[in-house]
Point group: C2
Chain length 379, copies 2
């Protein structure tokens, strides 16, 4: 069963128990409006990645701002979001295994479902699952545009796949999945431009082969929070899949921009609230949030607006806050806001979002408690 929520709706900020996963609702809403506006301005569709938030409520808010649907990575995520009302989901990933394909095909009876392939024999298996379920599934060919993860080599192979998809009775050829995950966190604009430029060459080449074979791409999807301005302005990609922009995290904040006043300035909107549970020395204190409340795979969290405090040496249920010389140590019982190093897997550790209005002001209060619908949806 899910845990009890760490707060009650209407409670003042001071009454939120810890560890808690907080959303600064105002900041999140600004982030959502900003990306929606940028996508509109660039003339591309927005299909935000729900692997970040795993929430049907947030997906509905993204749809209200013009998103055409969401992406998921897992069938179980798609099931959880569909149960919460989402009607158009691209599983931007390969789905392998008979049980998962049965579930995916069943879901496609109720909502629009897309999925990716990079293995030729998989096409017939998806087709058979859709046939058995009496549904139709959009299938996109994933190409490896530089991430060295999934995806076929850009070029002629995608046309072979497209032909096989098109001749499958229960499938529709949906286009290309062309996401460059590794480019998102390259630190300098020059590195990111080089990576997406190379990816673009691969997409253009693949599209030309598809066109020569008679196939048009309804969707050319990709892009994340670190590079979407490049894909969006390319004239090649037509659907952006950014996810982290709604929350941001400490790792994305380390990216450098060269766009000046034009840079989309997303704000930190996701925090883990922690309590100083031990304070026995002047140079450090201990908080009640460790590996089980924060994913530290992309670096440790920043301590929000507390210069001289550094989160270090996490263990499962503890984090040590190192206090710089000359800086006042937090007191026993104080609460600290931590900006997660990596938002997506941190969200997955929690059962509830505590949505705070007027965050950071004396009026701050709990406005919403949202279940993290697809938390733990691994399959």
């Amino acid at each position: 069963m899910p845990s009890l929520p760490p707060a009650e709706i209407g409670a003042p900020f001071s009454e939120i128990d810890t560890p808690a996963l907080l959303i600064d609702l105002d900041a999140m809403e600004r982030n959502m409006a900003l990306l929606a506006e940028r996508a509109r301005a660039m003339g591309v569709r927005l299909r935000p990645h729900a692997k970040t938030h795993k929430s049907a409520i947030i997906a509905a808010r993204q749809a209200a701002l013009g998103a055409v649907g969401v992406c998921c990575q897992k069938v179980a995520e798609a099931e959880a979001l569909a149960a919460g009302g989402v009607r158009d989901i691209l599983v931007s990933n390969e789905v392998v295994g008979a049980r998962k394909l049965r579930r995916l095909a069943a879901l496609a009876r109720q909502i629009r479902i897309g999925v990716c392939v990079d293995h030729f024999e998989q096409i017939a298996l998806i087709d058979a699952a859709a046939r058995d379920a009496g549904s139709t599934i959009d299938v996109l060919v994933e190409i490896d545009v530089g991430g060295r993860r999934c995806g076929v080599t850009p070029g002629p192979m995608a046309a072979t796949f497209a032909a096989e998809i098109a001749r499958s009775a229960n499938l529709r050829f949906g286009g290309l999945q062309a996401y460059h995950g590794r480019a998102q966190h390259l630190r300098t604009p020059a590195e990111r431009k080089a990576a997406i430029g190379a990816a673009q060459q691969g997409v253009v080449d693949t599209v030309a082969h598809l066109k020569a074979a008679g196939f048009a791409c309804t969707t050319i999807g990709g892009a994340g929070t670190g590079t979407f301005m490049l894909e969006g302005a390319s004239g090649v990609w037509n659907e952006l899949q950014a996810g982290s922009y709604i929350f941001m995290d400490a790792d994305y904040a380390r990216n450098v921009s060269d766009e000046g006043a034009n840079a989309p300035r997303f704000e930190h909107a996701l925090f883990v609230l922690a309590t100083v549970m031990s304070a026995t020395s002047a140079d450090q204190v201990v908080v009640d949030a460790g590996h089980k409340a924060l994913s530290n795979d992309s670096g440790f969290p920043d301590v929000w607006q507390r210069p001289g405090l550094a989160y270090q040496r996490p263990s499962d249920e503890h984090g040590v806050i190192i206090v710089a010389p000359g800086v006042a140590a937090p007191a026993w019982g104080d609460k600290l806001l931590l900006v997660p190093g990596h938002c997506d897997p941190t969200v997955n550790l929690h059962d509830w979002y505590v949505g705070v209005r007027d965050f950071g002001t004396p009026r701050a209060r709990v406005e919403t408690l949202w279940p993290i619908d697809a938390r733990g949806a691994l399959g």
Copy 2:
């Protein structure tokens, strides 16, 4: 809501969907019997740490082998295990915050509850919570025996704490919490002996101060899977708190022993089963288990019994398996067993244990599906 379990009871191994958290039941049972026997032989009590398994069913099996109760780190964990029938729980950690103390004191009406302190004013707060709930709580003084995390300095201060606890109407002085977490993963026996030897000096000194002030320690608790033979043989500690021994992990497997035939040889009993979901090049394949299915804080998982395969470059939902030159790559659709780098936070990512009997044999089948009761119990 919890996810669907990835298998059905009675199913053959081949029908387990992925990612799944598997227990080799035979190996786990041997591990449990081995530590129980060692504790008996050394004449010390066993109170295994349930932060590892978070399961009331496993706690009951530990009790059946002689454990006096379990440890938890969080009130919410204690609630989940108490709901599953556990009757004696030490929260081997500080509990800070009025709401948590209310819940802890309420729980102490139903089962035996202990908790640790390292902050003097906290004693009155726990006493008040117990008074309001009409319960009695055992309070142990945590001393910092080298971990530089929580705990007061060994020596006279614990006697001041003990006196305050003893004069509190709703508390009982329970003894000392003396756990050296950092010592568990020191690689060489000499390093571990030196660390636990230094810890022992602190415990002996503290016990002497307590004795001089008229206080006896019912419990002197500590030790983990990496060092329990040292604490157990010390004649000082009387309650062992090891947790990971039931499962082991890749990080514990890197510890070196010098005990020869006498070494307690715990077996790997916990695995994440993953599917090869993409295989587009000869030198690597991609599996469907990333940061959300495996905690990589203590290193990446080992690929079980597949020399030449190395798990690398995890992302949220993917892991890349690097194939050494000359080694046959796993085929698309193959399943691989991964030994988690760190068992405790990996368990916390899953909703279900899939318990497998005759693991690794052609007769392997799903015998049990156990909910991970305290999964996500952060507060």
